[in-house]
Amino acid sequence: MKDNPIFRNDMILKIEDLSISFGGIKAVDAVSFEVNEKEIYGLIGPNGAGKTTIFNIITQFYKPDNGKVYFKDKDLKWKNLIDYKTHDVVKTGLIRTFQNLELIQDLSLLDNLLVGSHTFYKSTALEQALRMPRAVKEERKFRNKAMEIMKLLNISDKAYELVYGQPYGILKKVELGRTLMSEPRMIILDEPAAGLNERETAELADILKHIRTDYDTTIFLVEHDMGLVMDICDRICAISFGEKLAEGTPAEIQNNSFVQEAYLGSEEGELAE
């Protein structure tokens, strides 16, 4: 390695100088920030600011034009995720949800959660096909775990119902539950409160705080609901047009003039068009 990044002990994710452009438009422009262990960290910005794109780069759905994504994995070793294939990222302990839900409609809630445990299954397809002891034991273990998680999320009464046709609030919880099945060190949530009503949002805030302590995870979220962001986040990073504007505590971000301008500016911009 030619440049030696500095890793503080309490850090879990270090983003360095990340850039990507789509057809000449810079969607993310030299963004750097760090997330600490057990933190609830928020990423905010107007529509199209590049938030989802940053998530996509961190989880290796996109490869950046430039920059590094360092993550402290399950063995507490720092890894540059850029070297990883998309499907190998989860093994480091990093898992995400999607802004547009990505669930399996014709599976039950329980089965959807079980997909989150995929990499932990040790039994082979043959053992599963013949229901050999190891496969049965393993399946039972993960089912119990999924039931526990559904209890936390308050959806255990629907465990055996299909995902198809469930209300939005439930679907959001299923995606969140699925991430917990992967024994994550860090959960990345893309707009977890989008589409939720006030009561559901308040419940989500509670759940997220619980998850952080009970599951020993760091939470990194993108969210437009400022009430939620200011309530639960320890620190926030604000971006606009792919560039970092500010980083700090909720209070600092709220009072930052650049941030205020970006949010106002984007609205005025829309009006002017």
């Binding site: 995400r96 089965d111 997909v115 599963q128 399946e139 089912r143 039931m147 992967s182």
Partner: protein
């Protein structure tokens, strides 16, 4: 909560009873045949339904659950059929050895082809597998020392550990094989592997994020379908006892698509219902209708119409008639 989980587990096991029941229903044909109520040819037709169902279960896992299409299934089925005839008849191999090679060789070829063609998606995969199927058919035609070419290849009923099966014995054996094929299929789709298939089919993004290696699971689904196809091919060879290269063409592969679609994708027993309609109905019912029954191609027309009707009005497949009927009966009885 514990209790609910447990009862659910029992419920899952109880599905097995349905599969065993399906096997028993087929077995009822044996006393009917012995009593002279149905002829021996009906037994052969029902035996064909069973073996087509077995292949259909594999196709359903591939198409319905993993969301992949193949138009070359018949080729692998034929390959196994010829191998089994060659090993048991020409080489006089004991059936079990022959079985291992007749399933194993196509699997190895299947994995190789899968690794290449499964990188393609959608239409490309359909065209690639169609090509593979046709190549295999040409091989059957040209390689006549092994297949008998156009004059065909014959084989006998199965001889297992010195036990020689006759027609009825073979039929009974096939009914038992069907039960196992159903149970194993059920286990697969209700396992982590099955969930990986379904995730791959419905959301590539979710599959990637959850650590599901797409190529591995595509190849695995392909291999599972190939195993079912080869077993069906071997069953064909030792029931019909004769095989021609032209049998294993696109028409046969399309039959399996019909069986899966008509019976019901994403239902393990769906192909049994599908095979009853696609294989048995034309043979046992249509043929006996005056004038229409004897017109050429009537079975194909019937198939085509049935597919359209099912897709338009009953797209979960005809197997769902049973569950819907159950609900209806419960409603009528319970009055709720």
């Amino acid at each position: 909560m514990e209790k609910k989980l447990k009862s659910r587990f029992n419920l899952l096991e109880n599905v097995y009873i349905n599969y065993i029941l399906i096997g028993i229903l087929f077995l009822i044909a044996i006393p009917l045949n012995q009593a002279g109520i149905i002829g021996g040819s009906v037994l052969i037709t029902l035996g064909s339904v069973i073996l087509y169902s077995v292949v259909g279960i594999g196709m359903n896992i591939l198409l319905g659950y993993a969301g992949l299409i193949t138009l070359g299934g018949a080729g692998f089925m034929g390959l196994a059929a010829y191998l089994s005839a060659y090993f048991t008849r020409d080489l006089n191999m004991p059936f079990l050895f022959s079985l291992i090679f007749s399933v194993g060789i196509p699997i190895i070829i299947g994995i190789g082809i899968g690794l290449i063609s499964l990188r393609l998606g959608g239409y490309y995969l359909a065209i690639a597998t169609l090509g593979i199927g046709e190549v295999l058919k040409q091989v059957f035609i040209e390689y006549d020392v092994f297949t008998g070419g156009f004059s065909g290849k014959s084989a006998g009923y199965i001889n297992l550990f010195g036990l020689q099966f006759d027609r009825i014995g073979t039929y009974a054996l096939y009914a038992v094989i069907l039960i196992f094929a159903l149970i194993i299929g059920h286990n697969i789709v209700n396992s982590a592997t099955g969930r990986a298939f379904m995730t791959m089919r419905s959301s590539e993004a979710a599959a990637q994020a959850m650590g599901i290696r797409m190529l591995k699971y595509k190849v695995l689904a392909f291999v599972i379908a190939t195993i079912y196809s080869t077993i069906g091919g071997i069953m064909y060879m030792h029931l019909i006892k004769f095989s021609f290269p032209t049998t294993w063409g696109l028409g046969m592969s399309l039959n399996f698509l019909s069986i899966v679609v008509i019976g019901g994708m994403k239902a393990i027993a769906g192909p049994v219902v599908g095979a009853l309609f696609v294989i048995a109905f034309p043979d046992l019912v249509l043929k006996n209708i005056p004038i229409i029954g004897t017109s050429p191609g009537v079975a194909y027309i019937f198939n085509g119409v049935l597919i359209v009707v099912v897709l338009l009005f009953y797209n979960r497949g005809l197997i769902k008639i049973f569950t819907d009927a159950k609900v209806l009966i419960k409603k009528l009885i319970g009055g709720k």
